[in-house]
Amino acid sequence: MKKINSLVLMYRSMAGNTRRYSIAILLLGFGSILAYAPPLLIRATVDSIIGNESLSIHPIVGSIFGLFDLSILRENLWIPGLMLIGSAFLQGTMVFGSGYLAASTSEKSSRNLKDQLFAHINNLPASYHSSAEKGDLLQRCTSDVDTVRKFLALQLVQVGNAFFLVITSLVVTFTVHPGLAVIALPIIPFSIISSILFFGKIQSSFKRSDEAEAALTTLVQEHLTGIRVVRAFGREAHEYQKFGERNHYYRQVTMDLIRWFSAFWASSDIMSLTQVVVVIGVGTLWTVQGTITLGTLLLFISSVWMILWPVRMMGRVLVDMGKAFVAIQRIQGILEVEEEDMQLSGLERDIQGSIRFERVSFSYADGQEILKEISWEVPAGTTVGILGPTGSGKSTMVSLISGLYTPSSGAIFIDGIHIKEYKKECLRQQVAMVLQEPFLFGRSIQQNIGLPLGPDYSQIEIVEAARDANIHQSIIEFERGYETMVGERGVTLSGGQKQRVAIARALVTKAPIMVFDDSLSALDTETDRKVQEAIRKNAQGRTVFLISHRLSTLSKADHILVLQEGRLIQQGSFNELIAEHGMFRRLWKLQTAKE
């Protein structure tokens, strides 16, 4: 069933291009047949034009030569010469056409697949991403797609070509002499069956070699990440020994594989060549007995030679085909995951910023309950502080506002309208979020901050936001200032710098709702104070959420929500909360004891 599915997907990835692949296969097939033209031409020329044999022993070429006067051909040997070049040219054109067509079409297929995967990844729900194994996904998007591309570009055409040649020679040989055909062609089923048997047999060897290689890679990778530990404990010799062992093991199991391969190729060569011996032997006998003519025998011998190569290639193609099927299944695994519903036909409007949670609960797919019946309401323009221990559900709660997750029960209203009514794009453009672990893209700092503004941002807006986020000074100290590249190909920013760039990115949006998810944690006290001031300045007329551990931050909020184990245990203004018995008051007392 799985095999069939992947066949379907493979077919679909070629969709719209099946004709181009068929043409490529046909061209290659004709090209392979045309490869027999030069020897035939030469033989006919030598035998009948230069020599004195009758043209009739060369059926095809002879009839072409018959169009000319033989004496003219004899005088002008460049004519058959040109014909030779012409046939090579024709063959070359076909080989080129086939190769180019297959390669460019497979590129097109792989591009489609890549685009599809990329779009799909972007549209997968947040819940998928939060638990995804990213290394594995990356592997699927890159090397698995490439495996499929190679299969389409090279092997598919080879398989097609083999089929074409096999069928051609079957037709030709059976029409010419069925008896000899039965003798000449057992190699085809033999070879296919033995390839399948063989590759079934060495699967485990293959897997062992692959795993040994992966183990070696893992060791090097871990070694490189843990290099400080290795060095500090002086364990270089120990590591080298471990590496040596795995290196040796990989070599050993791969040699097993090579031994199998030698056996396979040797036996398949013996089989193929024996087939030639059989045809020559039996053919000679029958010719001498007069059952068949010499011409028929020669035709059969060349037919056998012609199909031997593609039939022998079959084994290799089978391996690659297996790999391609595994790859396409892995790709399919991503594409099968359902995309997030972006509520495309939803409402698009300017948000004011009043928010109401009505008995909102949320649990993960595995049943783990994160939020329990939370209700609160704030008017537009409120600064909301959120407090609670790690794992109390703060981040999840604010993620619900921009529709990253969907509540399991209860409802959320923005400006009195259920968030299900909004188009998600509209919602997210107006809810600026700074995540706990901010991510910057591999482009310039300026572009990173300007991302929410689209392509036509103004420099002034960006510098202003950067100043507010207290990162402007650090940026201009970089050699290339705002043009400094971030990430692998550029500078590595510290955690605090990243947070501030992300804050600038949020400030630049001037969105009516802003969420700062513990975004100041990596900043020192002084910077923290400055950034907070800037946020307060920007908070005028906006609804702002601040998740923080620090009382000083929360004291400036209009409304404070206190979460614990997924429940809202206290809410109110700062003054209300310190008047109330509870966690907040105890915390505040601790604070005042300091002063």
């Binding site: 030598v46 230069i50 004899r74 040997l77 460049w78 010469g81 030779l84 070049i85 040219f89 063959q91 054109t93 190769g99 390669a103 097109k108 890549k114 990329f118 990844i121 972007n122 990213k134 890159t142 070696l216 871990e222 843990g226 290099i227 530990v229 500090a232 404990f233 002086g234 010799a237 120990h238 040596g244 290196n247 040796h248 090579i258 190729w265 060569d269 013996i270 024996t274 020559i280 032997g281 000679t284 010719t287 001498v288 221990p389 921009s402 990253l404 997210r428 600026a432 979020m433 995540l435 910057l440 591999g442 692998e488 510290s494 551990h549 620090r550 614990q564 915390l587 601790l590 604070q591």
Partner: protein, 601 residues
């Protein structure tokens, strides 16, 4: 051109030990080529000997001989693949060992400068490419050259004028091949470069998925990606066109060569300077000449890309080692790869910095004329802002870097005189983010002392407060920790990392305390463990937690590469300076955090 030479020259020492195999492979290859060439003759023999005279006398012998040859060829093929595969594996094995060994010698700073991914692909995929191309390339080249040479020789013997005329296309062929190989190589490079950008895009899409969503950039980023994938498509198609064109061009050139022979040979026959039979034989050889030529061109193209891989590998191998011991010291105490612990002196662990100057390679001056004395057995808490120089001190003591000027003494002897192996053998290091290796918990702890028995390991785990959680795990000490310890919580990893250091029982312990909060239970266990480990041991702690700082015998407040306050907790508090303010701030922050984390309902 110069680099090409250097790659093969570099490679030569790695091939040398395998010359008998290489020679054997060459011989088998020639045999295969010769047998292959005779197959056409067998048909002719059958026609001439049996069919034309109309007899079957000796047909059975003919068939037996033929079958014998087939068997011989099968054996040849078997040997060929075995030996070529052996060479491939041997080359890879040796190159990998050499590279990994060299990596052990490189100074730690190298790994800060060099991306791990870069190093990884040198040791894995690049070396694989070299192994494959060199061994199988050798097979193809031998086969190609054998065939071409033997055919050319036969052609020259048959008729040298005609041979010259036919071979006149070969210079063109070489020129065209070079042209195409260059174009293919260049276009492939562009394709690969674009491809790495595509990979980077996927990586960003995966790592930054949440950010993309919150910025609502799904469509824009897809648009950007499509731009890239379109570019990739364009590049690949250009590359494919060039590659696809190459083979037909060689075919046509070959046909021109054959046509020249046909035309000129025919003239010679009619002028009766050449016999008919010679021309027929000659022509059948010309057809066979051009296939191997094309094959050779392909192999040379592949060698180009192997060369690129090879250059990268040898760049790694040729990276000079900056921190290195003198031969005398290696002689005495061994190198890092073959240490001689039996000769190591026992260190007590006093440390002295004497007028040390240090700056990083990027020119950032950290220490200026820095001096410091730490008696053996003292625990030191290093306190100060990021970039103040705390980590630099630790890096210098570990000799991950060396001072630009001045000296560091351990037990009153220049610490370079101990050699890296001995120094690191006496060090223990607990990292801020605990680093484990895949394998069992037991193996990870044993990393501290390779000869430790299970009893010793359990003992150490008990001291580090790790024993309880370990024995609660279903597989106990045999529990697999997963890649980089992924199956354990941060707190658990922290405890194992402590156990490892305790087992090592080092003269000097370096502790880079974690900043990130972990669950309360592990937290208090770790605090307790730290306390036990520090007792009577020279230790340097990059400290973040007050309890750790208070526990230390001595606190150094570092600012801009200088010790601005030096004393124990009580002394510094009553001094009322930097430390006092820091302590106050920190105290309340910690109280708050503790409170929030452990607040009762």
């Amino acid at each position: 051109m110069k680099t090409k030479k250097s790659f093969f020259k570099n490679l030569l020492p790695y091939l040398k030990p395998y010359w008998p195999q290489t020679l054997g492979l060459g011989i088998v290859m020639i045999l295969v080529g010769v047998i292959d060439a005779t197959f056409a003759l067998w048909t002719r023999y059958a026609v001439d000997t049996f069919i034309v005279p109309g007899t079957t006398d000796g047909l059975d012998i003919f068939i037996y001989c033929f079958l014998g040859l087939v068997l011989l060829q099968g054996i040849n093929v078997f040997i060929l693949i075995m030996v070529a595969g052996y060479l491939e594996m041997a080359l890879m094995y040796d190159l990998r060992n050499a590279n990994f060994a060299h990596v052990q010698d490189l100074e730690l700073d190298y790994f800060n400068r060099t991306a791990g991914g870069w190093l990884l692909s040198r040791i894995t995929s690049d070396i694989q490419r070299i192994g494959q191309t060199i061994s199988w390339g050798f097979v193809d080249i031998t086969w190609g050259f054998t065939t071409i040479t033997s055919i050319s020789i036969v052609m020259f013997i048959l008729n040298w004028q005609l041979a010259l005329i036919t071979l006149s296309v070969v210079p063109f062929l070489i020129w065209v091949s070079r042209y195409f190989q260059n174009r293919i190589f260049r276009s492939q490079r562009l394709v690969r470069r674009t491809n790495s950008r595509i990979t980077a895009s996927y990586n960003e899409a995966l790592m930054g998925a949440m950010t993309t969503k919150t910025l609502s950039r799904e469509n824009e980023s897809l648009k950007e990606f499509k731009h890239l994938s379109q570019r990739m498509n364009r590049m690949s198609v250009i590359s494919a066109r060039i590659s696809a064109l190459y083979q037909p061009v060689v075919m046509v050139l070959g046909a021109i060569g054959t046509a020249l022979a046909l035309w000129n040979g025919g003239l010679r026959v009619s002028l009766e300077v050449l016999t008919f039979g010679t021309l027929a034989a000659f022509l059948s050889y010309t057809v066979q000449l051009f296939d191997p030529l094309r094959e050779l061109a392909r192999v040379f193209g592949e060698l180009q890309s192997a060369r690129a891989a090879g250059e990268r590998v040898f760049t790694l191998l040729d990276t000079p080692v900056e921190i290195i011991d003198s031969p005398e010291i290696i002689q005495r105490y061994g190198s890092v790869l073959s240490p001689r612990p039996e000769h190591w002196p026992t260190l007590r662990g006093s440390i002295r910095f004497e007028n040390v100057w240090f700056r990083y390679n990027n020119g950032e001056q950290i220490l200026e004329n820095f001096s410091l004395q730490i008696p053996a057995g003292q625990s030191i808490a290093l306190v100060g802002a990021t970039g103040s120089g705390k980590s630099t001190l630790v890096n210098l003591i570990c000799r991950f870097y060396e001072p630009n000027e001045g000296k560091i003494y351990i037990d009153d002897r220049d610490y370079r005189d101990y050699g890296l192996a001995c120094l690191h053998g006496n060090l223990g290091y607990v990292l801020q983010s605990p680093q484990l290796f895949s394998g069992s918990i037991e193996e990870n702890i044993r990393y501290g002392k390779l000869s430790a028995t299970l009893e010793e390991i359990v003992q150490a785990a008990k001291v580090a407060n790790a024993h309880d959680f370990i024995s609660r795990l279903p597989d106990g000490y045999k529990t697999q920790v997963g890649e980089e310890g992924a199956k354990l919580s941060t707190g658990q990893k922290q405890l194992i990392s402590f156990t490892r250091a305790i087992l090592a029982d080092p003269a000097i312990l370096i502790l880079d305390e974690a900043t990130s909060s972990i669950d309360t239970e592990s937290e208090s266990l770790i605090q307790e463990a730290i306390h036990k480990v520090l007792l009577n041991r020279t230790s340097l702690i990059i400290a973040h937690r007050l309890s750790t700082i208070k526990d230390a015998d001595r606190i150094l407040v570092i600012e801009k590469g200088k010790v601005i306050e030096d004393g124990n907790h009580q002394e510094l508090l009553s001094f009322g300076g930097h430390y006092y303010r820091l302590y106050e701030n920190q105290y309340f922050q910690e109280q708050e955090e503790k409170f929030i984390a452990g607040a009762p309902l």
